[in-house]
């Protein structure tokens, strides 16, 4: 259940982002009714992502080369980056006035550009991957890509039948639970449910609409709170093929409030669509697909804790590792986490650097290296006998 707790904890920032902190809700209504309803819907919606059949499936040791809550970034060339930055400038100017509005751009499930702080970026892009990307829109099942991958790998053996069957049942079970839920609970209609499935649809103009979004004053535009800012920001999502643009429009920049949002949308279509088309075309041409970040011979996870960014071997490749290696790696990661927590308690300012190479039962090398805020984990099954070799291989990898 530990993993359940950890997983659950991860949903908190999303809750805060969309609904505000629980404390704030309690301030609003001290009886706690409001907070409770919010939490209820939010958690149920959140858990649907992990439902397979009647069971809730959580990441197992097979996900040890994953770091949840981090963002995966798309690597782009310099000229591409400049072009995208130029688009970001354009998007920023759409809000009018002096303040630039923030934006976040995703390509498939990968982050391309952001103007938000690392934490906000992680939250919003995770939400984007869950609900907004073309994949999330088209698939009726979970869109946590790694959960999906592992599920299809692990569940095929557990539940006999094709993965599709599993997905179908999950979908069905959700419908029943959603239909029954409001009946059981005291009816409070005006609760926004950001994680409710199948509510986002793509309009003909390319903008995503959430028809089920309600606020305390009836249907409205989805809006979020960012960390460290007190202002509420409207979420405006535009999608062109694989490219998803999330524009955050501050309430204060709109003279007539929500009525001005169509205006901003029109401006975006008028000024930016050509750029967006160009960028999408170039990105899809240059993208290596699912296995783009595979490094042959290595199964790795690289986490940049400062920026909440991670990069890992593709899930399909990780699944080729033997169970022993994965278990060993899992164990190592637990140890590292404990060590990290301890050093953080000892000296929060100073980051501790350390590395460990461990020989697993099946003679694979399992390696962890923490250095200056970056963590690298890898499993080398084909590495030869000596530690020196393993450490060399790691050096070689680090220098890439």
């Amino acid at each position: 259940m530990c993993s359940f707790a950890r997983n659950f904890k991860r949903s908190t920032p999303l809750f805060v982002m969309f609904l505000g902190s629980v404390r704030m809700l309690l301030d609003k209504q001290p009886s706690g009714e409001l907070a409770r309803t919010h939490l209820y819907f939010f958690v149920t919606d959140y858990l649907t992502d992990f439902k397979t059949g009647k069971r809730i499936q959580f990441p197992s040791f097979r996900e040890c080369l994953r770091e949840q809550g981090t963002v995966q970034m798309l690597t782009i060339s310099r000229d591409m980056a400049i072009e995208i930055q130029s688009l970001v400038t354009l998007l920023g100017s759409l809000c009018g006035g002096i303040t630039m509005c923030n934006s976040l751009i995703l390509f498939e499930d990968l982050l391309v550009s952001t103007t938000l702080s690392p934490d906000d970026t992680a939250n919003l892009s995770n939400y984007g991957v869950m609900r907004l990307t073309p994949h999330a829109l088209s698939s009726t099942s979970s869109s946590w890509s790694y959960v999906r991958m592992s599920k299809s790998a692990s569940n095929v053996s557990v539940v006999s039948g094709s993965p599709n069957a599993v997905l179908a049942t999950s979908h069905g079970s959700w419908h029943t639970s959603r239909d029954t839920a409001p009946g059981e609970e005291p009816r409070i209609a005006n609760v926004p449910r950001p994680l409710q499935r199948d509510k986002w649809t793509k309009g003909v103009d390319g903008f995503l609409l959430n028809d089920g979004w309600v606020t305390s004053s009836g249907p409205g535009n989805p809006a979020v709170w960012l960390q460290h800012t007190e202002e509420r920001l409207y979420l405006c999502v535009y999608q062109y093929k694989s490219l998803t643009l999330i524009l955050l429009i501050p309430l204060s920049s709109l003279v007539n409030g929500e009525q001005d949002i169509p205006l901003v949308k029109k401006q975006l279509l008028d000024n930016a669509s050509q750029k967006i088309v160009n960028i999408e075309e170039k990105l899809s041409r240059g993208w290596g697909g699912e296995n783009a970040y595979h490094v042959s011979g290595y199964r790795y996870l690289l986490v940049d804790g400062d920026r909440n960014v991670s990069r890992a071997s593709p899930a399909a490749k990780v699944n080729t590792l033997s169970k022993d290696s994965l278990l060993a790696l899992n164990k190592l990661r637990e140890e590292v986490d404990i060590e990290k927590a301890r050093s953080k308690l000892d000296n929060p300012e100073h980051e501790k650097d350390f590395e460990a190479c461990i020989r697993a039962r099946n003679n694979a090398w399992v390696i962890a290296k923490v250095s200056r805020g970056k963590e690298l984990y890898m499993a080398l099954e084909k590495a030869s006998e000596t530690l020196l070799y393993a450490s060399d291989a790691m050096e070689k990898f680090s220098d890439r």
């Binding site: 000229d79 400049i82 072009e83 930055q85 400038t89 103007t115 200056r372 805020g373």
Partner: protein, 825 residues
């Protein structure tokens, strides 16, 4: 500008002082008709004070404005002729003739011919003279080698004199069947002189030994009149009832090109009256190396434009005219159409085949000689009033390509473009910059204007897209200059002709001899250039040398690229003669340009010094910067293309000081500039990246800064890395990025140094060991270890140095820390 300002000043004064004016008016009305001295003086004083206040205020604001926008040149005009003119009034002459082949102004008197070289307009040489027998003169032309002088005596006789031997001879035609319309010398390989007669043209060659002409070839057809310019080497022969059927030949040193016969169109008038095209209605002009013919259709009030290709004549459209008399000049590849009756000039830039005028029609202006602006204006007024009777006078002759000769007064004027005026009157920034970038006659001026326009549109906070388009123009122009530097116009021309609608059609033939000459010249100077780089590099620090090597590589590649382009065009022979002849000069430009970019660093230093001067208030700024720029630019270059260096030093660096406040706009502009530069594969100044880091850090946009670094939008360099570390004092992640960049750049010493500064002495030690960094003093490590108060660590570090650094054991440092260690433990 001044004239335009006047009414609005009055209006604003009256608006601002309305109440005072009303008071005064009421007072007067009450007392009239009793008039006395000092009546209503109180009201009058109030009105006067108010007016004075408003005018000074307005003046100040205008001054500021004109400084920021464009320093206007006083009066509004875009074409001017400069005082003093070139005078050649000699009494008792029989008229003045212009020999465009040799750029000579010729004046025959009773027994001699006086000739002035006007190739260099500024120089005023005394005329040289040739004795010649008396007689009527219809035209005079020197041979191109100046050995023979030819004078047309009548319509059937031309007299020649060898200037070396003094021998004369004449050539006549059959007076009963034909008459001579004129003649001209040519550098065509098969003949030396062409006679144009009513029965066709004779191609003759001059036999020096026999001192006679030999007929090479005769082409027979009826000719009514002809037009020839040496510049285009082209003759157009008019025939037919209305003189609208044309035969054309180009006699260039590459050979003879015969143009297909073509018709010029004229609007039909209702009456049966047949209009005849006159010789003064047809002009040949050479623009950007392309040859055009302009035909003025008086009835239709249009100027029809035809472009000549090797095997076709294409009608390109027509320009409207507003006068029954029209003259045409070409100044710096800009077409000027003088509407003589209306006394205005309309200017066109045909580079992009656009037939829209560059700016509104404005009068030709007579500009006084130098002096400060106000004096100049006054002087001008006097001059204009004294000369106004003759501006576009009847006796003005327009000489090819850009001269005006006043026959009555014997004055010769050169037409100049007033780039200031054009810049001030044009509102379309993008096309204005395109126009300015194409101007070669005064590159310093157009460059300064471009820089100023750039600065002002950014300071005015024009929309990012507009600024971005403007920057695209400048960057594309520079990149084009780098790529085709040596053959800049030829290249452009080729490109243009490729994209032309009639792309199969090629322009005229050109001499290959010239081409090879200039190519070998280029190679030589290329070597020289390299040599210079190497010499310099030896005397410089290592890093500097690296930079320069890179530059010299760039320069040589550009030379090679230029040479290739040239040889390509040589084999292709699709460029025009005029562009070819200008090749060596252009190449010089690119040499100086390359040198200049090397010296950019030095220039940067001086400009930095300038910038730090106290006169940095808004008003003083331009005055402080402007002379600096002119000095810097004036000494060593001759192109209007703006390099990334200049873009940084004269636009962004200055603007950054000025803008202050919210830097996000400037960041957007810089990103757009990077996009522009990246598109053209140009390297930008490293300082630009540094500036971006500062701007982003100032506005606390660290996460974006990180993204910029990771995506290499900010190109890694030592400066960038150190700036990241510095800005990272407020943000640890940014500092780490800086350190990582140092490591990636293998700047081991700096990396170890900074690690030590941050207290990561063990990692620094490990790194120093691995990368053999021995330049960092051991005491720094020891100091860092000591500061942890951990004797074990200190001992380890001490041991490390004792073991791995030869000679460390005998240093005083070892002793000292050994002692410290002993005390600690």
């Amino acid at each position: 500008m001044k004239e335009r300002r006047t009414p609005s000043v009055l209006k604003r004064v009256l608006l601002n002082c309305a109440s005072e004016a009303k008071e005064y008016g009421r007072c007067i009305v009450e007392r009239v008709p009793e008039i006395e001295k000092d009546m209503c003086s109180k009201e009058f004083q109030a009105l006067r004070a108010c007016m004075q206040k408003v005018t000074t205020m307005l003046q100040r604001s205008y001054r500021d404005q004109s400084q920021v926008v464009i320093s206007g040149s006083g009066a509004l005009s875009h074409v001017y002729i400069q005082q003093p003119p070139w005078r050649c009034s000699i009494p008792e002459t029989q008229g003045i003739y212009y020999d465009d082949g040799n750029k000579l102004l010729l004046s025959p008197s009773s027994d001699q011919v006086l000739s002035w070289k006007i190739a260099s307009y500024a120089q005023h040489d005394p005329p040289s003279s040739d004795l010649f027998s008396e007689g009527p003169v219809l035209s005079i032309r020197y041979s191109l080698d100046r050995k023979v002088i030819g004078i047309q005596r009548s319509n059937n006789e031309i007299q020649f004199k060898n200037r070396e031997t003094g021998a004369t001879f004449s050539r006549r035609c059959k007076p009963e069947s034909e008459s001579i319309l004129g003649f001209f010398w040519t550098d065509c390989p098969s003949c030396d002189i062409i006679f144009v007669k009513t029965s066709g043209i004779d191609l003759l060659s001059y036999e020096a030994e026999l001192n006679t002409l030999r007929l090479v070839e005769a082409k027979r057809f009826n000719v009514s009149w002809y037009v020839y310019t040496h510049e285009s080497r082209m003759v157009l022969l008019a025939s037919g009832m209305q003189c609208t059927t044309f035969f054309g030949y180009q006699f260039s040193s590459g050979g003879i090109v015969r143009l297909p016969k073509f018709e010029m169109s004229m609007v039909k008038t209702e009456a049966n009256q047949k209009r005849v095209l006159a010789v003064e209605d047809v002009h040949i002009v050479t623009i950007y190396g392309r040859i055009y013919s302009l035909q003025h259709d008086k009835a239709g009030m249009v100027l029809n434009m035809y472009r000549f290709y090797r095997d076709a004549v294409v009608h390109q459209g027509s320009l409207p005219t507003y006068s029954s008399r029209v003259a045409v000049s070409v100044v710096d590849n800009v077409l000027l159409v003088h509407q003589i009756d209306a006394k205005v000039v309309i200017i066109y830039d045909l580079f992009h085949d656009s037939l829209a005028p560059v700016s509104a029609p404005l009068p030709l202006r007579l500009r006084g000689s130098s002096g400060n602006l106000r004096q100049g204006v006054q002087l001008e007024d006097n001059l204009t009033s004294s000369y106004s009777a003759t501006i576009y006078g009847d006796k003005w002759t327009f000489l090819v390509p850009d001269l005006i000769f006043d026959v009555d007064h014997g004055l010769l004027w050169k037409i100049n473009l007033d780039l200031d005026g054009i810049a001030a009157s044009s509102s379309d920034i993008t096309s204005l910059l395109e126009f300015l970038q194409c101007r070669k006659s005064d590159p310093t001026k157009s460059k300064l204007l471009c820089l100023e326009i750039m600065r002002s549109i950014i300071l005015e906070r024009r929309p990012v897209s507009a600024v971005s388009m403007a920057m695209d123009v400048l960057v594309a122009s520079f990149s084009h200059f780098v790529k085709f530097g040596a053959v800049s116009q030829g290249g452009a021309d080729r490109r243009a002709s490729e994209t032309d609608q009639s792309s199969s059609v090629q322009p005229m033939e050109t001499p290959s001899r010239l081409c090879t000459d200039s190519m070998s010249g280029m190679m030589n100077s290329g070597d020289l250039l390299k040599q210079e780089f190497l010499n310099r590099a030896e005397t410089n620090a290592q890093q500097r040398m690296m930079v320069e090597n890179e530059l010299s590589n760039d320069a040589t590649t550009s030379v090679i690229a230029g040479a290739q382009a040239l040889s390509f065009s040589g084999s292709d022979s699709d460029t025009n003669l005029e562009t070819r002849t200008s090749v060596p000069e252009k190449y010089d430009n690119s040499v100086t340009e390359a040198r200049r970019s090397i010296e950019g660093e030095r220039g940067a230093e001086t400009s930095d010094v300038k910038r730090e001067e106290p006169a940095l208030q808004t008003e003083g700024l331009y005055r402080a910067v402007e002379p600096c720029i002119s000095n810097y630019l004036g000494s060593q270059f001759s192109t209007s293309a703006i390099s990334p260096d200049e873009m940084y030093h004269f636009v962004f660096a200055i603007i950054e000081d000025e803008m202050g406040g919210d830097p996000s706009y400037l960041v957007s502009i810089l990103v757009e500039y990077l996009r522009s530069a990246c598109k053209e594969k140009l390297k930008v100044q490293p300082n630009l990246h540094v500036m971006m880091i500062q701007l982003l850090a100032r506005s606390n946009r660290f996460s974006e800064l990180g993204l910029f670094v990771i995506n290499k939008i900010l190109e890694p360099s030592k400066e960038v890395a150190l700036q990241l570390c510095e800005s990272g004092h407020q943000n640890l992640q940014t500092r780490k990025l800086g350190l990582d960049m140092l490591r990636h750049l293998s700047l081991h010493h700096d990396y170890v140094d900074l690690l030590l500064q941050d207290g990561h002495y063990l990692e620094a030690l490990r790194y120093a060991r691995r990368h053999k960094v021995i330049t960092v003093r051991p005491s720094l490590f020891l100091e860092a270890a000591l500061s942890t108060d951990d004797s074990q660590q200190l001992a380890a570090v001490l041991r490390f140095f004792s073991d791995f650094t030869p000679g460390f054991k005998s240093t005083a440092e070892k002793e000292r820390y050994h002692q410290v260690l002993a005390e600690l433990s």
